[in-house]
């Protein structure tokens, strides 16, 4: 039995990891531009709610995802106006964004609680999906799983190899120097924040339309925060963030299967696992201060105004 169970676990870990990947990649881009947006949880909830609402109302999940991305961007824009144009404290504003997102999504989504939705289905790839073991593991996932992988590769490439990535990194390292060289620092940061918002929105919609196809208040249950932690864990590098997300996906899924695997521990303790794991992983990565110092965008969390 064992191999079959493990394949199932691994396959569902991929699903559990996908929203984390999407949200964390978005935040990674935002942070590489030097902006710390702690509002991922709030943006995910807004995305989950609006994606679900539009998906149910229109009958088209793709419209739902579009709406989720748009609403994520809209609320990220609010964050951008406050922190980039009005120069408020990024930490406080990010917290405000999360609290606001929790309230707004609960309020606006109240009539959608408990409604059913046709979830996002896995792709059926002829032949490949039917392969034993490998099929369910690699070729039987929904489109967003593959999209998240694609995006990871794309972001890694853009950051490392393209001029756009170069400019983004420059702004994140020293907005002052980028400014005197003529980079539109604030505009670049806006775009990065908006990208982060769109990705968090999509990640949220994945929760409410694919992972657990329904809408409930506060359904992200801290995943936004875990995504934020993953960016640190991945030392601001896309592929490491991806690996971290799969690790977390596995932990999350393992605790669901633990009972079935003969682990007799109260379910509450198993549910604590992802949160405890987040803490432990952060401690492990932060122990050597140089790891953080070398990789963290140097201007992260610092306001910049071009008004010399």
């Amino acid at each position: 039995m064992n191999l079959a169970v493990w394949v199932t676990i691994a396959a569902s870990a991929v699903g559990a990891a996908t929203p984390l990947i999407l949200a964390a990649l978005g935040e990674l881009v935002t942070e590489r531009a030097g902006v710390l947006n702690l509002g991922v949880e709030g943006m995910m909830l807004i995305g989950a709610m609006s994606g679900f609402a539009v998906g149910v109302s229109s009958g088209s999940l793709w419209l739902g995802y579009l709406a989720a991305a748009a609403s994520g961007m809209l609320i990220a824009l609010l964050f951008g106006v406050l922190t980039l144009s009005l120069q408020t404290n990024q930490v406080a504003t990010g917290l405000a964004l999360t609290l606001f997102g929790v309230g707004l999504s609960a309020f606006a989504g109240r009539s959608f609680v408990g409604l059913p939705i046709r979830p996002l289905l896995p792709l059926r790839i002829p032949v490949l999906s039917e392969l034993p073991w490998i099929g369910p593991l690699l070729f039987h996932h929904d489109p967003l799983v593959y999209l998240s992988l694609l995006l990871c590769a794309l972001i890694a490439w853009v950051l490392k190899r393209t001029r756009v990535g170069l400019r983004l990194r420059a702004v994140g390292e020293s907005p002052e120097m980028a400014h005197v060289l003529g980079e539109p620092v604030i505009r670049i940061r806006y775009l990065a924040v908006l990208f982060g918002g769109a990705m968090s929105g999509i990640a949220g919609a994945y929760l409410s339309t694919a992972l657990t196809p329904m809408w409930t208040e506060g359904m992200s249950a801290g995943r936004g925060w875990i995504a934020l932690a993953l960016v640190v864990f991945g030392t601001w590098k896309p592929w490491r963030v991806l690996a971290g997300a799969y690790l977390f996906g596995t932990v999350t899924v393992l605790q669901l299967y633990a009972q079935g695997l003969g682990v007799h521990v109260p379910s509450e303790f198993l549910s604590m696992l992802p949160y405890a794991a987040t803490i432990m992983v952060l401690v492990a990565i932060c122990r050597d201060p140089k790891t953080i110092l070398l990789n963290q965008p140097a201007s992260l969390g610092r306001s910049f105004h071009p008004g010399y």
Partner: protein, 380 residues
């Protein structure tokens, strides 16, 4: 280093007619007015939301803000709900001033409820007159213990206290859920996930006949005074303020970052633990899976709206408590969802952050740039 008085374009590169200009000196008037302004803006938005939902804004306003406070009982409820908010926010304000971002007050509150409630459940009757102080102290210690984890990890391993304290919220809630579903469940409780009721000897005495407000409120007020004194006159308070405003200056002056972190975490954690035990030994009277409707998170807003000042926190917690009551009232009478108060809370914080900007900046019409054509710049 940008000189003071530099111009900040509201949007980079776009030539907007308005620009933010840094004030020579922070405006004292705006410092006091920013929170009331934010509250007013929130109120106006609220009325718009009511109107958009097809409710008569004036009537909705009455239901939301006036009716809940029409009676002695209502006022008592206001103070009762303000108590945990005030306690948590007072601690958080101290912590945020020191640049220590404890956002896990909700978890510390939950742990305070567990330890305080536990002591009350198992030792309450035996403690006699010492019941209440023992239960309250246990709550404070529980909150502190929970806050000690992020304090330790931040000061030893530089792990962000933001993440750790937040993750511990979920863990504390799961722990409480386990206890009331499992070992601490009342055998006579018809399988409801709740503990036995606490004995009367440990319950906090009520302040006012006919209301539920208890001595916790007085304790919170005393703590507000104490934190004001701590912040303005003690060297420890000064050191925490320096640590918050300029960490490099703190290092230069030999102020221990470690000590600041621990102090901030112990104060905020202890206060949140106290808030938790005051709920359990007060209006709830037992342990149940949920002991707080998010007071620990709302307190973050309270701390900011109170501008991290004890007096401000006292006022802001009353405002926030009124929002909770209004939400309940609106739910009953207008069939509006209770979550509308969550929306208002979050919105309030946004308005506040925006309003705070005007303490240091003012809006000015932008200086016209010399037009693309050259010939002289036209005298101003």
């Amino acid at each position: 280093m940008p000189p003071r008085g530099s111009l900040v374009p509201v949007f980079d590169q776009l030539h907007w007619p308005l620009r933010l200009e840094r004030r020579q000196k922070p405006s004292a008037a705006m410092r006091i007015c920013s929170s009331p302004l934010a509250a007013l803006a929130m109120l106006a938005t609220g009325l718009l939301v009511f109107a958009a939902l097809g409710k008569d804004p004036v009537a909705a306003f009455r239901v939301f803000f006036v009716e809940p406070l029409n009676s002695t009982y209502g006022v008592g409820e206001l103070l009762l709900k303000a108590t945990p908010l005030m306690l948590c926010a007072l601690g958080l304000a101290v912590s945020y001033r020191a640049n220590v971002w404890n956002i896990g007050a909700e978890g510390q509150l939950t742990l305070g409820a567990i330890t305080g409630g536990g002591v009350g459940l198992f030792f309450g009757p035996a403690l006699g007159h010492w019941g209440q102080p023992a239960v309250l102290s246990a709550g404070v210690l529980g909150g502190m213990a929970w806050a000690a984890i992020p304090a330790l990890l931040r000061s030893r391993f530089r792990t962000s206290e933001i993440f750790v304290s937040l993750m511990l919220v979920y863990i504390a809630q799961l722990l409480l859920s386990y206890l009331v579903h499992g070992p601490w469940r009342d055998p006579a409780g018809q399988n409801f996930p709740q503990s036995q009721p606490l004995s009367d000897s440990v319950l906090l005495p009520s302040l006012l006949q006919g209301t539920r407000v208890n001595v916790g409120f007085i304790i919170a007020l005393v703590l507000a005074l104490l934190s004001w004194w701590f912040g303005t006159t003690t060297a420890a308070g000064f050191r925490m303020r320096v640590g918050g405003l300029a960490p490099a200056a703190a290092a230069y002056a030999g102020i221990s970052e470690r000590r600041n972190i621990w102090l901030a975490m112990m104060i905020s954690g202890g206060a949140a633990g106290l808030a938790g035990v005051c709920e359990v030994a007060g209006p709830i009277g037992m342990l149940q899976p949920v002991v707080s409707p998010g007071y620990g998170f709302a307190a973050i807003i309270v701390a900011f709206v109170g501008r991290l000042h004890p007096l401000g926190v006292v006022l802001a917690s009353l405002l926030m408590s009124a929002l909770y009551l209004g939400g309940e009232s609106a739910q009953m009478e207008l069939q509006l969802p209770a979550s509308v108060s969550g929306l208002f809370q979050g919105g309030l914080l946004f308005y506040l952050l925006a309003a705070e900007l005007f303490i240091g900046f003012r809006l000015r019409r932008a200086h016209r740039l010399p037009s693309a054509a050259p010939a002289g710049g036209g005298g101003a």
